[in-house]
Symmetry: C2
Subunit: 328 residues, 2 copies
C-alpha cells in the first residue's frame, strides 16, 4: 500500500459525549429505558443537561470512535462528519487529528451547534444515551471527497447517521463510489434502526448487496432480520452480506462469512466502568485485524480485546496504547 493510500474512511456522527453518572432511580423518574438511545431536540437536551450531575466531555460518535480505535491500532484512517464552528467542534476536530485521523470536513457556522450525546452511566456500567445531533445531521454529499473514498480499502458507514435524508444520501453515494473502485463497504447497525422506516432502508441496502461487512449487536441483528434465534439471523443474512459480525456483550461474539463461522467468548475485564463504545471499538479491532490479513476468529479476538479496553473506563476513546492491548 502506498503512503498516500488509506486503510479506512468512515462517515458518521461528529459528536462530543457529555458523560455523567446517575442512579437507576434517575432513569426511572425520566422514563428512560436503560441501555437505549433516544434523540433529543436542543430544548430537550438543555432541560436534561440542567438535571444531570457534573460531567466530563470526551469526543464521541459511533464511527468516529471506531476511527479513533483504528488509528490507535496503526491504521491510516479518515473521518467525514459535520461539526459546527464552535468550541465543541474544535474539541472534536482536535481529538480526531491528535490521533492521526484525517478529518477535513469544514465546520458549518452555528447554529445548529456541534452535536452532543448526554450519556448517563449507572453503577452497573450500562450507558443510557440522549443524543442531540444538531450540526451532525447537516452533513451533505458535498462533504465527500470521492478521491479519498476511492483511496481507502474500507468505507465504514454508521447506522446512527442513517436516518436524516441528506447524510443518508451522502452515505449511499460514498458506498457506490467505494464499490465502483472495488473497495469494501462496511456498515454498523445501531439502536436507531427502530426509528421510523430506517430498518427498511438498511435492509434495502443490504439486499441490494451494497454491504460487504455488517456489524451489529444481537438485538440489532434480530431487529433487522426479524428472526429470534442466532442461527436464523445468520441464515437470513447469508448471501446478502459477505461477512456478518455479531457482538453479544458478555456472551462474546460471532462472525459468519460464506460457509465459515467463528464464535468466541468476551475478553476478560478487571472492572467494567462504562460500556459506551464497546461495539465501536469491537469494529475497529476486527477491521484492523482483517486489513492485516488475519483469519475470522483472530479478527473477532482483536475486536474483543479493543472492546475490553474501552469498557474499563469512562468514555469511548482509547486511554492506553491500543497496540499493546491488541497485538496485531
Amino acid at each position: 500500500m502506498s503512503s498516500s493510500r488509506l486503510d479506512i474512511v468512515a462517515i458518521g456522527d461528529a459528536i462530543v459525549d457529555v458523560i455523567a453518572t446517575c442512579d437507576d432511580s434517575f432513569l426511572e423518574a425520566r422514563g428512560f429505558e436503560k441501555g437505549t438511545m433516544r434523540l433529543l431536540s436542543p430544548a430537550e437536551a438543555a432541560d436534561l443537561y440542567d438535571a444531570i450531575g457534573p460531567a466530563r466531555e470526551i469526543s464521541g460518535g459511533s464511527a468516529a470512535n471506531s476511527m479513533a480505535g483504528a488509528a490507535a491500532l496503526g491504521l491510516k484512517a479518515a473521518f467525514v462528519g459535520q461539526v459546527a464552528d464552535d468550541q465543541l467542534g474544535s474539541i472534536f476536530a482536535h481529538d480526531m487529528r491528535a490521533l492521526g485521523v484525517r478529518f477535513d470536513t469544514a465546520p458549518i457556522a452555528a447554529p445548529p451547534p456541534t452535536g452532543v450525546c448526554l450519556i448517563l452511566v449507572t453503577p452497573d456500567a450500562q450507558r443510557t444515551m440522549s443524543t442531540c445531533p444538531a450540526a451532525s445531521h447537516e452533513l451533505t454529499a458535498a462533504a465527500l471527497d470521492a478521491e479519498l473514498i476511492r483511496s481507502a480499502e474500507v468505507t465504514f458507514l454508521e447506522g446512527y447517521l442513517w436516518g436524516p435524508e441528506r447524510p443518508r444520501e451522502a452515505m449511499l453515494q460514498a458506498a457506490r463510489i467505494a464499490r465502483s473502485a472495488g473497495r469494501t463497504v462496511a456498515f454498523t447497525l445501531s439502536e436507531s434502526l427502530c426509528i421510523g422506516d430506517r430498518r427498511e432502508g438498511v435492509l434495502g441496502m443490504v439486499e441490494a448487496g451494497l454491504v460487504d461487512i455488517l456489524f451489529g449487536n444481537e438485538h440489532e441483528v434480530r431487529h433487522l432480520t426479524g428472526c429470534e434465534a442466532v442461527p436464523d439471523c445468520i441464515e437470513a443474512l447469508s448471501g446478502k452480506v459477505g461477512t456478518l459480525v455479531m457482538t453479544r456483550g458478555a456472551e462474546g461474539s460471532i462472525a459468519s462469512q460464506g460457509g465459515e463461522r467463528a464464535d468466541i467468548p468476551a475478553a476478560p475485564v478487571g472492572k467494567v466502568v462504562d460500556t459506551t463504545g464497546a461495539g465501536d471499538l469491537f469494529a475497529a479491532g476486527f477491521l484492523a485485524a482483517r486489513l492485516r490479513g488475519r483469519g475470522l476468529e483472530s479478527c473477532l479476538q482483536a475486536g474483543a480485546l479493543a472492546a475490553a479496553e474501552i469498557i474499563s473506563h469512562f468514555g469511548a476513546r482509547p486511554e492506553v496504547d491500543l497496540r499493546r492491548v491488541v497485538n496485531l
Copy 2:
C-alpha cells in the same frame, strides 16, 4: 445556621481543564518544567493544543475545585468567577450548579472566551499546567454580592487569580467585606506566586492581618516566607495568619495554629493517576472539618482523604460520593 446562610464562598478562576497524557520527552522538547504552571496567550494555547494528544474536558479552577469538594462534603457553597457566554462557560456553570454550588456570576460576551487549562499528565501522575485564563481574568468587583459574602462563614480566595489588577481588587474588597462582618478569610497560595510582584502583594495582605487561614504547599510557603526549613516557615508566619496549613505531597501535611501544631502522613492511595487538584481538595476537606468544629489534626486528616480521592483519577473534581471517603 439558618438555611439562607452559606458555609463558604470562593473567588477564583473559572476554568475548564483540557487533560491529556504525554511522555516526559514531550515536556522536555517544549522546555516545560514538570509539575509547574505557566500562563499562555490565546495564540500560544492554540499552538499547544494542536500539539497535544486527545483530551478529556473536565471543569477545573483551583478554588472552584475546592467549592466542588466542599459541596460534595455537604457544605453550602458559592463560587464567584468569570466565564464567557460560550460552550465551555456553560459547561463550567453546569458542573458547579450540578453539585449544588451557587454560581451567579453573569457570563461576559466572548471574546475573550472562557478560560482553559491545558494539563499534561505524565506516567508518574505529575501534572504540568498551561493556563489561558482569558475571560477568567476579566472578573471585577462589580461581580461581588456583598450580602452573599457577609452571609458566608468563610470567604476563600485563590492565589492564581491574585495577579491581574481587577480580580485582585475584587478579592481584596471581598476580604474586607468578610472581615467587617466578622467572617473568616482563607487564602490559598499558588505557583503563580513567583510571577512579577505577586509575592509582595500576598505578603502585604498577610502582614496586614487580612488572612485567617493560609493554605499552601511547602514550595509555595517557602517562596512566600523566604525560609528554607519548615519550622522557620511556620515561625515566619506565626502571629500573621491564624492558621497555617502546609501540604507536602507524599510527605503528608502540617498545620500550625497559635501554639498548636499537627502533623500527619498522606492518606494511602491505590494508584496515583493525576495529581491535579490535590491541594484544592485538601483545602475543601480541611475547611469542611473545621466548619464542623473538628480539631486541627482531624481537619488535616479530612483534607488528606479528599486529596487521596482526587489523585486516584483524571481531573480535579470528585468522582465518587466524597462523604463516604471523608467521614465528617
